[in-house]
Symmetry: C2
Subunit: 337 residues, 2 copies
DNA sequence: CCGCAAATTGACAGCGCTGTCATTTCTGTC
DNA sequence: GACAGAAATGACAGCGCTGTCAATTTGCGG
């Protein structure tokens, strides 16, 4: 029926344990035997049973991707990350489970317990804002389960992937300054997200660099959602001196700004320049297409998962790798009126 | 260390096999024993090992959700379905794996083989357009793995969930007719998707019902993507007699139409009414907000998975349940000019 | 050619559960 | 109250793999 380890062993003339060693890439196997075993596995189309490996061994070859299910961040972002993690899993014969958690719930770490004690996941990939949830990190540590983070706030001692968002935001705002804008507003994201802080910091850096004083009225709070972008924009439009450019901390809010601009009869970019952050698919679907910063989400998911697996497989220590950003100049920004 | 079945058995004073029976909801256990065992499980916080169950038994308590990774349909749609399937899994203590497949690849059914022979998935949830891929269905049948489909073309003998898309499309177009439109165009989706056929059929029904002759020039081919919507719209705008309304087979293409309308200087809905299908989050983020048909994706994912699990657990035969649609009238449609 | 440490390999038990089949305990019946 | 048949329970092996530790082979200096 099913080809088992034992069958491969018999075909090769070695013990099952040796085949097991080859399967697990242990070093203490003579190269010649290794080749023979590998050849037999290949020709017999051997596929190890994850259940048996999980039951007998200490590893499950399972990683879980956790995400906050409350609403944020945008589902396209998560979907891309998920695909990236799956890419990495394919490459190293790991399987992936996805697990939404509701951070608002008091005992949301229960989910982690289930994942760890039921499925014995070997590691976990964390997406924002889970990356910096103290109770979650604590629980993972208690379980002894390593994790990789995507865009974590805390860089020290963390493995995963990040981007220099502050620098990216700065570059974006400098682009606005170069277009002659002086009254530049910023819509901040959810407070405890690293992304919000970095993007705000980059905004401030750019203003300071250009010698533009920071006007508190021009910095309004949003929540990363389209609707919050609309509200924030209306707030800005109510100011005595309207900004000539608005930098929203993500594309969703930027879309909201453009919506509110339409509502108000402002023409983008003639009357108002708008830019966002993330370069979600929506960015090019807006009219006019949105100037934003491209974040390679799928790549980031893949890299984070690869770092995690390197760690799990004892290949290297696991790093926090940095990916480059890219400024996407489109038609939503133009010279100041 | 870990609480095992045996521990529960000892605590209750029964054999491990009896505890196993309770765990698996077998009927041949006296109610009183069942209660005692259940109580012990609860108080000892017993959690069965999926690996051991999978290895020893014939069931894995795993379902897989398959989707086409080429690009379609929109990731937000899939994400919602995924959340729905996860809801159902939570309810019945199943686990879920997600598996993107590339239908274009010649041997994309390999993925299924891996899922089935490696992980022994008990069942599979199919999303469009996988629901009607003959090679895939064939492979599943060979493996003896049941599946539930979301919006399958072939209703007969299929379990899962569907919506009366034809009727919904008809209602949508009738809405346009009621607004006085006579020159109504339709942008068709990818040819072999059921959604494309139904929506086209509903469009034709409505026209016929209103006594409007079908003009082949007004039916153009799209691919469900934003870009294809733009192209299709340009094509329609090149016609001698411009349509006064365009019904795109999904929201993405409708967004493309609105983009092209902007490009062409047409004002929606004054010069042109536009409507889509699906009610993705984007629909309310467009300017003006898009008239469309709401499809309860998450609910559909959940229902399909529940039907599958009912079947797997021997509870009922597994049905094809129908969910209601809802017409979302927004500002992108108005009286004909 | 021998002895010893290092490199390879193997024997065996057991991970936590369920399938099979045997056994015990109830039912209701006359 | 004895008995057939149904209901409930248990004994035991084994799912396919890996951890532990022992056995064997190899390489090398003398």
């Amino acid at each position: 029926m099913r080809v088992r380890l034992e069958d491969v062993a018999r075909a090769t003339g070695v013990s099952p344990k040796t085949v097991s060693r080859v399967l697990n890439e242990e070093s203490s196997v003579k190269e010649s035997t290794r080749q023979r075993v590998l050849a037999a596995m290949e020709s017999m189309n051997y596929r190890p049973s994850p259940a048996a490996r999980g039951l007998a061994g200490s590893r499950s070859f399972l990683v879980a991707m956790l995400y906050d299910n409350n609403n944020n961040p945008a589902s396209t972002y998560l979907a891309e990350i998920q695909d990236g993690v799956l890419d990495a899993c394919d490459a190293h014969r790991y399987s992936m489970m996805v697990s939404p958690v509701r951070m608002r719930d008091k005992d949301f770490t229960r989910r982690v317990d289930a994942l760890v004690s039921d499925h014995h996941v070997d590691g976990v990939v964390l997406t924002p804002p889970l990356t910096d949830s103290a109770p979650l990190l604590q629980r993972l540590k208690e379980h002894g389960v390593p994790h990789a983070s995507i865009s974590p706030v805390q860089h020290k001692g963390t493995i995963g992937v990040c981007m220099d968002e502050q620098q990216a935001a700065r570059a974006l705002v400098e682009h606005l300054v170069a277009l002659g804008h002086r009254r530049i507003a910023h819509i901040v994201g959810i407070a405890d997200h690293g992304a919000s802080r970095w993007r705000l910091a980059g905004y401030k850096d750019a203003l300071a660099g250009a010698g533009i004083p920071l006007d508190p009225d021009y910095v309004v709070q949003g929540e990363f959602t389209f609707g919050s972008g609309v509200i924030a924009a209306r707030q800005l439009f109510a100011l005595p001196a309207l900004p000539t450019a608005i930098f929203a901390a993500n594309d969703d809010m930027a879309a909201g700004v453009m919506w509110a601009a339409n509502e108000r009869g402002l023409k983008v970019p003639r009357d108002l320049s708008v830019c966002g952050f993330d370069d979600t698919p929506m960015a090019v679907q807006l009219w006019p297409p949105l100037t934003t910063v491209r974040q390679p989400s799928r790549e980031m998911g893949k890299l984070a998962a690869l770092q995690l697996m390197d760690l799990l497989r004892g290949r290297g220590p696991g790093l926090l790798v940095q990916v480059p950003y890219e400024l996407m100049q489109r038609e939503s920004t133009a010279a100041a009126p």
